[in-house]
């Protein structure tokens, strides 16, 4: 006999009804219903909005029109203006040196990148992505890089890559030590949180205009803006990665007589590498997001293609530039992730 049937025949309808109801209550069905309801609601609202707005207006009236008694924006604003001018004058020695080193770094990277002729570079990168990610992605890489070059953006892509590369090097150099220190020191962690939040949300142009006054137009303010925007994820993820290392492993290492430094270098950092690499990957992505803003301060590159297209009211040109940035982002993202995974596997293989 059929031993799977545990209930008598008569209760089948109940079971079927219950399962239908269960399917109706499933999250995906409910989500779909809510989405359709929202779309329908928007359509109705769209046709009703004028009347609706008038109804709402009459119902609520004009509200309370109370002006706040104090307005400090002007005196404080002009004080800050004066402070920026003062810093421009007095800080010249510092800013010129910083600018010089950043410019030299970018110039060397760019020279290196453009020294390689484009066929060799495209083939090389495609082969690399084939080795690490399989033949499908290798073909995708080849096609998309050829497209990039076909739209006349190769040289510009190299410029952008040089600027991004410099920003990422500087960001990682700043973020890793700070992240490690924050992982070990709770006070530093608490102080850092609001600072990192500010770095990520402050509109770039606010600190870009003073940066242009200090460092003059070009790659330097762009690198500074990119570093400010891209450093927080690296710091946060380094901090997180090290804090999340299993405390039992750390205890085991200590019980073997490891000093604090040895625990950090040989246990915590190696085990936090996946998270740290995720942080670096995010840094690179955020840096690519700043490419158009970099063009606004004269850094050139693919962002300039976008900006020029917008300025001439030709969104098609701007879209081409945008696709170029997307191609670069996808390639760098996948390749660095694959690189991180292969390192992880190598580490696992070493018997940790």
């Amino acid at each position: 006999m059929d031993e799977t049937r545990t209930q008598p025949k008569g209760s089948n309808n109940q079971e079927e009804k219950a399962s239908l109801l269960a399917r109706l209550k499933s999250p995906s069905v409910l989500a779909m219903l809510m989405f359709l309801g929202a779309v329908l609601g928007c359509l109705i609202m769209g046709s009703a909005v004028e009347e609706g707005a008038v109804v709402l207006g009459i119902a609520w009236g004009n509200g309370f029109d109370m002006e706040f008694p104090i307005n400090w924006s002007r005196p404080v604003g002009s004080d800050i203006n004066e402070a920026v001018r003062w810093t421009t004058r007095e800080g010249e020695w510092l800013f010129d040196n910083m600018a010089y080193s950043i410019i030299m770094l970018i110039v060397y990277i760019k020279k290196g990148l453009t020294w390689v002729p484009w066929p060799a570079a495209i083939l090389g990168i495609s082969l690399l992505s084939y080795r690490m990610l399989g033949y499908k992605f290798g073909i995708f890489t080849l096609i998309s890089l050829l497209l990039l070059a076909a739209f006349g953006m190769w040289e510009k892509a190299m410029e952008t890559l040089a600027m991004i590369g410099t920003s990422v090097i500087i960001s990682v150099a700043i973020a890793l030590p700070i992240g490690i220190m924050a992982a070990r020191n709770n006070l530093l962690d608490k102080i850092l949180q609001p600072i990192l939040d500010m770095m990520q949300t402050m509109p770039s142009f606010v600190y870009l205009v003073p940066a242009i006054m200090f460092f003059s137009l070009g790659n330097v303010p762009a690198v500074i803006a990119t570093v400010v925007y891209a450093v927080p994820p690296a710091i946060r993820l380094t901090n997180l990665g090290i804090r999340q290392v299993d405390p039992e492993v750390v205890e085991a290492a200590r019980s073997f007589g490891a000093t604090n430094f040895q625990v950090l270098m040989k246990v915590q950092i190696p085990m936090a590498i996946p998270t740290i690499m995720a942080g670096i990957n995010q840094t690179i992505m955020m840096a690519l997001a700043m490419v158009v803003i970099a063009a606004l301060v004269g850094a050139g590159g693919v962002g300039e293609v976008v900006w020029r297209g917008l300025g001439r009211q030709r969104p098609g040109d701007a879209l081409i530039g945008g696709v170029g940035i997307v191609i670069m982002a996808v390639l760098i993202d996948r390749l660095t992730q694959a690189l991180a995974k292969s390192r992880q596997e190598a580490l696992k293989g070493s018997g940790l």
């Binding site: 109801l21 109706l24 209550k25 409910l30 219903l33 809510m34 309801g37 329908l40 609601g41 109705i44 609202m45 046709s47 009703a48 004028e50 009347e51 609706g52 008038v54 109804v55 009459i58 002007r74 002009s78 001018r85 421009t88 004058r89 010249e92 600018a99 010089y100 410019i103 030299m104 970018i106 110039v107 142009f205 870009l208 205009v209 003073p210 242009i212 006054m213 200090f214 460092f215 003059s216 137009l217 070009g218 790659n219 063009a295 606004l296 301060v297 004269g298 850094a299 050139g300 300039e304 900006w307 020029r308 297209g309 917008l310 300025g311 001439r312 009211q313």
Partner: protein, 358 residues
């Protein structure tokens, strides 16, 4: 089990309620603007027509993000609001976003369309008939790609015309300009960029001048102001009337004068640009008096420079500068009707500001 059942029914009920509420709002009667036209036909001969009571709808000005446009917007806006009684609002943006807004009718007046910078989009809009030009302003404007600070010229008396740049190129070299003089170009997307690049080739300056693209007007002015503060030498494209040109002491290197109808790209200095006032096509029909004022409008660049100076000295906003100009100058009396003039003067005397601008 029962709790989850109630939750999903609750969700469905809320959805139905939302749909019902929107439906009710859609179908509710709408109070519209009421036109009262009474034509009383009596057996007698006289027909009496009562005047239409038309609600004056808001006029939106394109608040372009540079100081002369902001000031002109507020001058014209104050006259429109207090002289002619239309509510006035300002739409913030820049050339890229505000020209399509004008074409679409989201904004109604743009006080500064600089030709030839926006020539291409302007010609297109003219062909399609989507915007109307009603006059010009800032007739005595200027622009040049060979602008240097006065202290640079004083320190190097031989630097008088653009041909002297080659001898003095070391003054303008930057670390990233490959040993050539850095000339900060016009903003990408403006026509002046193409004209400057054409002149760069024509004058064969490729060996000793590198064109640097500033990306944005803010970047261009910030670069000049930074260099000026530090006392560095600077060479590049500047136009006036702008706040920076008014505040800093700048000198234009000499170039061949542009005879009327010439093309500066063929080796001449820039002539004065046409700065047009453009309106959206629907505006004349509903606000003919304001459009007539705009046709008579004629704000000169010298007044703009004076206003910039006043704003800097008094740490004032553009609205205050606009009211100050209206109070102290009489040239606007010619643009407006007598009632409008009286109304504006009364508003100034009553210390009234603009309702939608600070």
């Amino acid at each position: 089990m029962v709790a989850t059942m109630k939750k999903s029914w609750m969700v469905l009920f809320l959805l139905a309620l939302t749909a019902a509420m929107t439906g009710i709002m859609a179908c509710s009667s709408e109070p519209e603007t009421v036109e009262v036209i009474k034509e009383v036909e009596v057996e007698k001969i006289v027909e009496v027509e009562v005047e239409k009571e038309v609600v004056k709808e808001t006029i939106v000005f394109s608040d372009l993000n540079w100081s002369s446009a902001l000031l002109q917007n507020r001058i014209a806006g104050y006259i429109t609001e207090h002289g002619y009684g239309y509510p006035v609002d300002f739409l913030t943006g820049d050339t890229v976003s505000l020209f399509p807004a004008l074409v679409a009718g989201d904004s109604h007046v743009t006080m500064e369309i600089w030709l030839p910078n926006q020539q291409d989009v302007w010609d297109e809009a003219m062909v399609e008939g989507t915007v109307v030009s009603v006059g010009s302003s800032l007739d005595d404007n200027w622009q040049s790609m060979f602008v240097i600070p006065r202290y640079t010229q004083e320190a190097n008396p031989g630097l008088v015309s653009y041909t002297d740049i080659e001898a003095h190129k070391d003054l303008f070299v930057r670390p990233d300009s490959d040993g050539k003089a850095a000339l900060i170009n016009c903003i990408a997307g403006w026509k002046c960029e193409q004209i400057n690049t054409a002149k760069h080739e024509l004058y064969e300056m490729g060996d000793y001048v590198k064109l640097v693209s500033p990306g944005s007007a803010a970047g261009l002015f910030a670069d000049l102001e930074g260099a000026y503060e530090k006392g560095d030498d600077w060479l590049g494209y500047i136009w006036g009337p702008t706040k920076t040109a008014a505040m800093l002491d700048l000198v234009v290197l000499e170039e061949a004068d542009c005879p009327p109808g010439c093309n500066p790209a063929e080796g001449y200095a820039y002539p004065s640009a046409d700065v047009l006032i453009a309106i959206a096509t629907g505006l004349e029909a509903r606000a003919g008096d304001v459009v007539q004022m705009l046709r008579n409008y004629d704000f000169i660049a010298a007044d703009q420079v004076a206003a910039e100076g006043w704003m800097a000295d008094n740490e004032a906003t553009e609205t205050e500068a606009a009211i100050n100009w209206l109070a102290s100058s009489t040239s606007w009396h010619a643009w407006v009707t007598d009632e409008a003039q009286a109304a504006v003067e009364a508003a100034i005397a009553a210390d009234e500001g603009l309702s939608n601008a600070d």
